[in-house]
């Protein structure tokens, strides 16, 4: 079988640093292959995607060496708009670059840029919507769609350019289980039936491994393994490359008792209801406790109201009805101005104010009595102390925000999808840090639809939200 994509000695360095952060990488991929690219955070996965699509050095500053040849055409000689007709790329956050108001407009944006005849544009859009199970949804306003559907729209938009290779950078990072499986199913069908070459860069191995035909593991910018995808679920293999192992810590409902009634409630919500202006009710009549020394997990599909509930509990949104009470007076030895609630949201960079990781962390820590650098090392950030927080990867930004929040010593730590961009090793470190925080009497309120988080053994309780606006409290962990 002739190679569809050939990477020959590709090396890459973003920005102006010396040496190369990625490479040299040599890889040949055939038509219809579904390649799963895995590796630790910072191993060079996103860098590989940017180099493959010609964004470095054409759009992002940086240096690249070596060649990427797509069906005989060296991509380095092409401008990004020419590359887009051969190689499509789907970014991690589907909200980052959407241009249309409706699904149809959004998917048509690319073919319109190419100046194609109207009939051809319509044909391409309809085909792309069909391939991603969005047929019939052309009139949907994009702003009203769940993240899962938006991600599907981003894939459809890339497909409408008729690429022969599709690269997806952490496409399931923000999706619930059902949406992630659906997306992967569609990609597998496109690869098997239409010969599309699919390259998925992911941390959530459980969705990709059953569908991939090949696994490539990057380690410190180089290919460390190239073979069968099933190996990504072997414990020694995962340990060696820092991958997530889905079966590592299964939930054991029968062993863990619900938090005792006598445990102090750090935050107590009673009968709270919330609705956005001119929108339907997000949730109603919710009672929720955050208990000292315990984790309360909020689960539910995309769009079920998890983030809104967390913001209400953190005091960022005021409920229309009901009351949220905060009850965690500081101990006598602690500063009375100690932070009450720390919220780590889905866009962590909006709390950054300082020019380096160390300064940002110190600004949260100051006056709280926490040891210097206390949470930077456990969360693997110490080596990044001089970097600007906005230059970090998604996972690193999230780790910095969590470390900073922990350093502030709040009574309640609220985490919204904390595992995005975390490899297996960092996920384990996060849980160790949270264990320590809970051990000190802190309460954790955590929303996630990542099974690698939900499967952890966390003392506390869980509630699930559903699109029918009902809560289902359960003491399951």
């Amino acid at each position: 079988m002739a190679d569809r994509l050939r990477i020959e000695g590709l090396s890459c360095q973003p920005g102006q640093g010396d040496g190369f952060a990625l490479g040299p990488v040599d890889l040949a991929v055939g038509p219809g292959e579904f390649v799963f690219v895995a590796g630790r955070s910072g191993a060079g996965k996103s860098l590989l995607a940017r180099c493959l699509s010609g964004l470095i050095p054409h759009v992002f500053p940086g240096r690249a060496a070596g060649r990427v040849v797509l069906a005989g055409t060296p991509l380095q000689d092409l401008a990004p708009w020419e590359v887009s007709q051969h190689l499509g790329i789907v970014m991690q956050d589907p909200r980052a670059g959407q241009f249309g108001e409706t699904v149809w407009e959004e998917v048509a944006f690319g073919p319109e840029n190419l100046g194609l005849p109207t009939a051809e544009i319509a044909r391409r859009v309809d085909r792309a919507l069909e391939a991603t199970a969005l047929a019939g949804g052309g009139d949907w306003p994009i702003q009203t769609l769940s993240l899962g559907r938006r991600q599907a729209v981003a894939v459809a938009a890339a497909l409408a350019m008729r690429p022969s290779v599709l690269v997806l950078d952490e496409p399931t990072a923000m999706l619930d289980a059902a949406s992630a499986r659906t997306l992967m199913d569609h990609l597998a069908v496109l690869a098997a039936e239409e010969g599309l070459t699919v390259i998925v860069l992911e941390h959530r191995t459980r969705y990709v491994v059953p569908r991939a035909t090949r696994l490539v593991v990057l380690e410190e910018g180089a290919v460390a393994y190239d073979g069968k995808p099933q190996r990504a679920h072997e414990p020694p293999f995962c340990e060696r490359f820092g991958l997530r192992l889905p079966e590592s810590l299964p939930r054991r409902p029968s062993r863990i008792a619900p938090p005792p009634e006598t445990a102090p409630r750090v935050v107590q919500a009673r009968g709270i209801a919330y609705a956005y202006p001119r929108s339907a009710t997000v949730f109603d009549e919710v009672d929720l406790d955050a208990v000292a020394g315990a984790t309360t997990v909020v689960t539910g599909p995309n769009g079920s109201g998890k983030t809104t509930l967390l913001k209400v509990m953190a005091g960022l949104n005021r409920p229309q009805r009901g009351r949220v009470r905060y009850r965690h007076p500081p101990a006598e030895s602690e500063s009375p101005r100690r932070g009450q609630v720390a919220f780590v949201g889905q866009a962590p960079e909006y709390v950054f104010r300082y020019g380096s990781v160390a300064a940002e962390y110190a600004s949260w820590r100051r006056g709280t009595g926490t040891a210097e650098g206390g949470f930077l090392e456990p969360l693997d950030l110490a080596h990044l102390a001089d970097r600007h927080p906005l230059s970090l990867s998604e996972g690193e930004k999230r780790r910095l925000t969590i470390a900073s929040a922990l350093a502030a010593g709040p009574g309640l730590l609220v985490l919204d999808e904390p595992s995005v961009g975390f490899d297996g090793r960092h996920l384990a470190r996060l849980f160790r840090s949270l264990d320590g925080y809970r051990g000190g009497g802190g309460a954790v309120l955590l929303a996630s639809n990542d099974p690698d988080v939900l499967d952890r053994d966390m003392p506390g309780s869980a509630i699930s939200l559903s699109p029918d606006r009902h809560m289902h409290p359960q003491h399951i962990v």
Binding site: S84, A157, P467
Partner: protein, 239 residues
């Protein structure tokens, strides 16, 4: 093939009837013309725009309601009308504020009562130079992005305020605002960069004329609204 998980049905873009819009706009123009006889006519335009906007949303539209600001502006306009009519020098003191309010109202009225996407499509279809239409499209996209950035930045400030210990110093608040401003601008550049990257990876940099797949015919009501809103705002700023 697997289907996407069910989600609430989404409404397609709604359009109110041209008749409602035109009737209300005619009424608004009448009020404006009446105000032109007095010094305080500028204030009356605010009322006119508010009434036009609210009236236009009185059709079947769920998304084009006047909202709180519409009512506030209408109230201010009505009050100014009353004060001006009894001879009080309202414009002397309230002039700059009213000009700003009218600009905001006009922009919001235009954005909410007119399909900007249709305007954009119509401009693409008119085969105008790419760069000219790009300015309009970029301004539209950047407005939405700016609004979302401001919302998230405010949330970031509240998160920090709830958790980060404050320094007791006179310059502390000024420093905090300075840092917040710098961080805001830095993020804005990054967002704009990402948007540019997304456009590039979808063929936006291609030289030549862009195609427009969906035919777009602007309704008379849309054109009248745009001319009225933009025109009155421009006149008020220049006079």
């Amino acid at each position: 093939m697997a289907e996407w998980p069910a989600s609430p049905p989404t409404a397609s873009t709604r359009r109110d009837t041209p008749l409602v819009g035109l009737t209300v706009l005619a009424f608004a123009c009448l009020i404006t013309a009446t105000f032109l006889v007095g010094e305080w006519w500028k204030l009356g335009v605010l009322l006119a725009i508010s009434v036009a906007w609210m009236g236009r949303g009185a059709g079947r539209s769920a998304t084009r309601r006047a909202g709180t600001w519409g009512w506030i502006a209408a109230g201010v306009g009505a009050l100014a009308f009353l004060l001006g009519s009894v001879g009080l020098p309202v414009t002397q003191y309230a002039g700059p504020v009213v000009r700003l309010a009218i600009l905001v109202m006009a922009g919001r009225a235009f954005a909410l009562s007119t399909s900007v996407a249709e305007w954009r499509r119509a401009l693409w279809r008119a085969r105008l130079p790419n760069r000219m239409v790009l300015l309009f499209a970029a301004a539209h996209a950047m407005t939405g992005m700016l609004a979302s950035e401001v919302r998230l930045a405010r949330e970031g400030m509240r998160i920090r305020a709830a958790c980060v210990p404050r320094k007791r110093s006179l310059l502390g608040p000024a420093r905090a605002w300075w840092r917040a401003g710098v961080a805001f601008l830095a993020r804005l550049f990054i967002r704009a960069d990402l948007m540019a990257v997304a456009a590039e990876t979808r063929g936006f940099g291609r030289p030549g004329t862009r195609a427009a797949a969906q035919a777009s015919r602007l309704r008379a009501a849309d054109v009248v609204t745009a001319v009225f809103c933009i025109g009155s705002a421009a006149v008020l700023c220049l006079v």
